[in-house]
Amino acid sequence: MRYEEVSLRAIDFRDERYRISRGAGLEHLMRSIRQEGLVSPPVVCRSGRRYVLVTGWKRALACRALGFRKLPVLITEETNELHLLRLAFSENGATREFSLLEKADLLDKLNRLGMSVNRLVREYLPPLGLPATAVHLRMMLSLAGAHRSVRDFVSEKSPSPAVVKALLGFSAGDRRLLLPLLRPLGQNKQRQVLEDLRDVCRRDGIPVRRLFRRQGFQSIFRSSRLSMLQKAEAARQGLKRMRFPALNAREEEFRSALRQLKWPGGITAQPSPYFEEDHVTVSFRMGSREEFRAALDKLRDIAGRDELDALFRGKG
């Protein structure tokens, strides 16, 4: 490779063949270049009379933003696109973690340059921290080719691969319906919404669109009282009830039994997780003998009532 200073105008910034970095925010880098200069020059290759950036995209963009006219570069004579992309991959990978979207774009580029599925799975997925399976490769390629709205969501919210995988399992049209619902939720809830929705639609044989046209969902989506977060939360709860109808019915039965018993505040009654075990845990706090006695009196009163049995019902 040959060191040279080339005019920034000679660099074709529209050619993103080897671009891996997507992150915004050049300020930090610009400050460092202003203070220390450009310590490590980007690598470029020739393309006709101009140059294409192979590595150092952010550095070049920062220099341009700082108003540099010339850019110190290393010019490689390599012309094989696959080799150049691998160079970009190893240089970037040595210094930082790739985002999911960057990984997807890299795999997509390698794939387009003719690298076989086998090689991608075996040689690229493990160093990218992804399971070495064809299914994961397919998911990443699908992410690379996804609609801009999906890519923006992934870039902004950094969802887990599991969320991305579940989202990509829906049709492009369904994804557009889902994105506003997912945005306000945390990762676990995003995943839960997607999985419950997928399972309900498959189980009942109805498309997402039709499910969302149902009265319950429409009144959530159309509500002017609810914030986006509240709508997302209400839709999540609704989906969970549809996905687990028997569990939901039992939970409702339990709550109704507590209401009928006029269960005293300050004393909690908790079934075992998912009603898997045959018991209810009752707990309360006390700060004195009197408080203790008062709680016991209330419980003794409840113990004499027939409605108590409903707390233990539903166990078959």
Binding site: V117, V121, T133, A134, D199, R203, P273, F275, E276
Partner: protein, 370 residues
């Protein structure tokens, strides 16, 4: 089914290796010194687990010839021991735990039978005077490879003279030729996993129909062997009660109840990781769509009232069709299920063991063990 055989050079001279190769004249064979080519082949496949099921790997086992069955902690197991003569299975059931437990793995046959037999001798000496159940069908299907290995008859003749062992060959196949050629004994149980017709058809790729399995069981009973059945995994699906009822009715019409040594019941269960695997490898499977919630061991099971309803339906069908005297046990269930459905709570593994052996130990049994 098996498409290629790899032979570990160190195992090439074992008599069992030679027998398997003789019995598979049309399958390409490679002799190798390491497993690497097999792993490469699996890694290169779109479905590495499915690829492993097409490869037969003949090698030697280094130790651990008999192991306790890895029952789920926190649920009541059944004190079972497993012989790992085979690892993995050429069938491809969507719910199979081996996908997760073994990962991409060839179907492996351990061919150093002589050494394995010495290991079994030592194990049996340690348990002398104590009844135990032992089988080969936990990390694979006991008979799926028998047309190639012809080991079933050898196992039977070994265990028929060990009266404190109940030896079980557990299968979904109809490869019973080797069994029929062996001398029957009362402590040798050939057992079949059964399911409803729609579940077997949709979820048990490569397995014969449930009716064919029952036909095979009838043959084996005719030959003089006791049999066992495993309704596992029981699956809730539209019409499940009639579907299982039909199988149970047919089963008890074809097989005399007093020749059925046990029937086990286990509802569908899987870890979240296995659920993901089923969704990936079997996208048409409906198993992950059930109303399943995490249990105490972290595995997903049907919500308990649904599970109990399922068990109750099966037990009722068994009783209705004349199976009330058949010992039943649950696979990986808690005391509540035992108590509510079977009206007994074994509490500990040893109790399950005793419950399954009343006709063997100290109960005025007329059972002869050989």
């Amino acid at each position: 089914m098996i498409e290629r055989i790899f032979v570990d050079r160190k195992a090439a001279s074992e008599p069992l290796t030679r027998r398997i190769l003789k019995n598979s004249p049309d399958i390409p064979i490679e002799f190798v010194t390491r497993r690497r080519p097999i792993d490469d082949r699996m890694a290169a496949a779109e479905d590495p687990i499915g690829e492993g099921k097409k490869i037969l790997w003949l090698t030697r086992q280094k130790g651990g010839f008999v192991k306790p069955c890895p029952c789920t902690p926190k649920y009541i197991g059944c004190h079972y021991f497993i012989i790992n003569s085979v690892l993995n299975c050429p069938l491809d059931c969507s719910y199979c735990i081996l996908q997760l437990y073994l990962g991409p793995s060839p179907v492996t046959v351990f061919v150093n039978l002589e050494e394995m037999r010495r290991g079994w001798d030592a194990f049996i000496r340690r348990r002398s005077g104590r009844f135990f159940r032992v089988g080969t069908g936990e990390l694979g299907d006991s008979l799926a490879l028998d047309p190639l290995t012809r080991t079933a008859a050898e196992f039977i003749s070994y265990f028929r003279t060990r009266p404190n062992a109940f030896f079980e060959l557990k299968t979904k196949t109809v490869h019973i030729q080797g069994v029929l050629e062996a001398e029957p004994a009362e402590n040798i149980v050939i057992s079949w996993s059964l399911n409803s017709v729609p579940v077997a058809r949709r979820e048990e790729k490569g397995a014969p129909s449930v009716f064919e399995r029952l036909e095979a069981a009838r043959e084996v009973v005719k030959r003089g062997f006791p049999v066992g059945f495993h309704f596992d995994p029981l699956v809730l699906h539209p019409g499940w009660e009639e579907a299982y009822g039909r199988i149970i009715e047919r089963l008890l019409r074809m097989i005399p109840a007093d020749r059925i040594r046990w029937i086990s019941l286990g509802s569908l269960r899987f870890s979240p990781a296995l659920k993901g695997m089923i969704e990936e490898r079997f996208p048409a499977s409906r198993l992950p769509l059930g109303e399943m919630v995490p249990g105490r061991d972290g595995k997903l099971r049907y919500f308990k009232p649904l599970r109990l309803e399922l068990y109750r339906g099966i037990v009722t069908a068994l009783r209705r069709n004349g199976g009330e005297g058949i010992p039943l046990y649950f696979c990986m269930e808690d005391g509540e299920a035992w108590q509510k459905i079977l009206k007994k709570n074994p509490g500990r593994k040893d109790d399950v063991e005793r419950a399954l052996s009343p006709r063997v130990k100290g109960s005025g049994s007329n059972l002869r063990l050989y």
